[in-house]
């Protein structure tokens, strides 16, 4: 895999092609429960191909040093890799390198935006247009992951702003029209997931950005479930901030990405202060570097960042359009299959409607934990629980759902196996 190739469409993910790709993922050959692993939990965390592990190993064994500090050759090599990684990731999401700063994960990145806005509210020197005042509004959806809800709840509490949300229907779906109707002159922030981690709903970002910008509101996109699975061009979408996690896109854990569009990155004060983010410091004063360094206080996990860049290389070599097409088909297969099973309730868009490559279900009369246990006994790793979206589950009237989520290595046979085992769950527990 060469670095710096133009984005490719990549050949379609046929059975044969997937077989080749799977050989790159050592863990897929494991049998943790004594049966072949059917990994349907990439939505929670993805697995890493050799190429990523090797890139990290090579960095750690040949080029590791503190970056942007010191004058030795090793530090220069490490700094090269580090900044090259930033360029790589920026290009992957249609951003400029200066718009990409590092975070621990998406949760951290989203918190950073909310904390920086709280700081902007306090700091006297900051652009007044960033201020959030009593009576202003922060708009989210009822389906958000807690990572994109709690920071906004707190920001509203702290500033006296009102948290508003667009409600979901009985399937957990909200509509663009309903969201647009909630945008008012007082809206200052609209925070939403690009793709829901529970329902697989894909948000129509452009009209939301247009309406938000028309009233001077910022749009913060939780891109955790979109960037790993489909081509995303953040500049083209026009969002002001976005967040995603390396561990969900074939990369290592411990590193996430915060995208701040140029204008916001220039205006936003840093939430964290310390080394590597300043120009001049006296005993009483401080001046900060511009973005992205301003948002990167302290030493970054450079090895993981190099691993993430390798993950992006891998994804682009396979081709994001091919991955998207593959997962779209798997998502539809999951949705249609689950909806056709008696006593199984499919959450999210109906079969035939657009959805990402995941599906969550409720099995009548059987708790999700028990469903997960039966799946696990068949070697199927699926996620059960509230998926960090309690308000959504409360609205759905359940404590927990069972979710199967796919990725580039998922086969149709795996989806069918999931559906097959799912179809037997109710009779196992005497609920059918």
């Amino acid at each position: 895999m060469t670095i710096g190739t133009e984005p490719t469409t990549g050949p379609a993910l046929t059975e044969e092609r997937i077989e080749q790709l799977r050989a790159d993922f050592p863990i897929l050959a494991e049998q943790p429960g004594g049966v072949p692993l059917v990994y349907l939990d990439s939505g929670a965390t993805s697995q890493q191909p050799r190429q990523v592990l090797e890139a990290e190993w090579a960095f750690r064994t040949q080029r590791n040093a503190a970056v942007h500090r010191g004058a030795h050759t090793l530090a220069a090599l490490a700094t090269d890799d580090y900044e090259h990684a930033r360029e790589r990731i920026a290009r992957f999401v249609g951003a400029r390198p200066t718009e990409i700063s590092w975070a621990m994960n998406a949760t951290d990145a989203l918190n950073t935006v909310a904390l920086a806005l709280a700081e902007a509210n306090r700091a006297r020197t900051v652009d007044a247009s960033l201020r959030i005042r009593e009576g202003d509004e922060i708009l989210v959806t009822e389906a958000e992951h807690h990572a994109n809800l709690l920071p906004w709840q707190r920001l509203a509490d702290e500033t006296g702003a009102t948290l508003r949300w667009v409600e979901v229907d009985d399937d957990g779906v909200w509509t663009t029209e309903a969201l647009l109707a909630r945008i008012t002159e007082r809206t200052r922030v609209v925070a939403l997931a690009h793709v829901s981690n529970v329902t697989g709903l894909v948000a129509e970002v452009e009209p939301i950005v247009a309406a938000a910008h028309a009233v001077g509101a910022l749009v913060v996109l939780d891109a955790c479930q979109s960037v790993p699975h489909r081509p995303v061009d953040l500049r083209a979408l026009g969002v002001d901030a976005a967040a995603f996690s390396s561990h969900k896109m074939l990369g290592p854990g411990g590193i996430g990405v915060l995208y701040l569009a140029e204008a916001l990155g220039a205006a936003l004060p840093p939430a964290r202060l310390g080394g590597s983010m300043i120009t001049t410091v006296t005993m009483t004063e401080r001046e900060f570097l511009p973005a992205p360094q301003r948002f990167e206080a302290g030493t970054q996990p450079v090895g993981a960042i190099v691993g993430l860049a390798a993950a992006v290389d891998y994804l682009e070599a396979v081709g994001m359009p091919a991955i998207e097409a593959h997962e779209r088909a798997l998502g539809e297969r999951l949705a249609a299959g689950a909806a056709s099973l008696p006593g199984v309730r499919l959450v999210g868009p109906r079969p035939g409607q657009e959805r990402a490559g995941l599906a969550s279900v409720v099995v009548d009369g059987v708790h999700a934990h028990d469903v997960g246990q039966v799946l696990d006994a068949a070697g199927i790793a699926a996620r059960v629980g509230h998926h960090c979206a309690q308000p959504l589950h409360r609205r759905l009237g359940v404590a927990a759902t069972t979710r199967a989520s796919t990725y580039l290595t998922t086969t149709e046979a795996e989806v069918d196996r999931f559906l097959d085992v799912l179809s037997g769950v109710r009779s196992y527990f005497g609920a059918a």
Partner: protein
């Protein structure tokens, strides 16, 4: 192929999960506990009334929702604890905890555990130990609260 889940979902457990003995909150009661397992959202509200000069568990009722393991273990507890001395109930709770944490290394003591011996298989499923203990820990904490009064 042998059912790998048979050790976990014993017949008795599946039966109890449906029967839900003791479900419903009792009045009057001496102590109440509400517990929630944040990982799966299972929850239980359990009330206990003591008798015999507070030496006996006289009655016990609960409401809650959760997986079959958590519901069955509440049901077993509600059938077996009433009429036992508080000290014996505590002993039983401790014995179940020890058994479930043993990863299968301990032979269950049927004499001591009664029907709860059916949960022995849970020991091999560490992710489910909390489910099986939920009602039992709720009772333990309720008894602790009464002791502290």
């Amino acid at each position: 192929m042998a059912d790998p889940l048979a050790g976990l979902y014993q017949e008795l457990i599946l039966e109890h999960a449906k029967r839900r003995s003791g479900s419903g909150l009792i009045e009057p009661f001496d102590a109440e506990r509400f517990l929630r397992n944040p990982t799966c959202g299972d929850e239980i509200r359990l009330r206990v009334r003591l008798g015999g000069d507070a030496a006996l568990v006289e009655s016990l009722g609960w409401e809650g929702q959760g997986c079959s393991i958590s519901q069955a273990s509440a049901s077993v507890l509600a059938e077996e604890a009433p009429g036992l001395r508080v000290s014996a109930v505590r002993e039983r709770i401790e014995a179940l905890r020890e058994l479930l944490r043993s990863r299968g290394a301990i032979e269950p003591d049927e004499q001591l555990l009664g029907d709860a011996v059916a949960f022995a298989g849970v020991a091999k499923f560490p992710m489910r130990v909390k489910c099986a203990m939920l009602a039992w820990v709720a009772l333990e904490e309720a008894l602790d609260e009464l002791d502290a009064r």
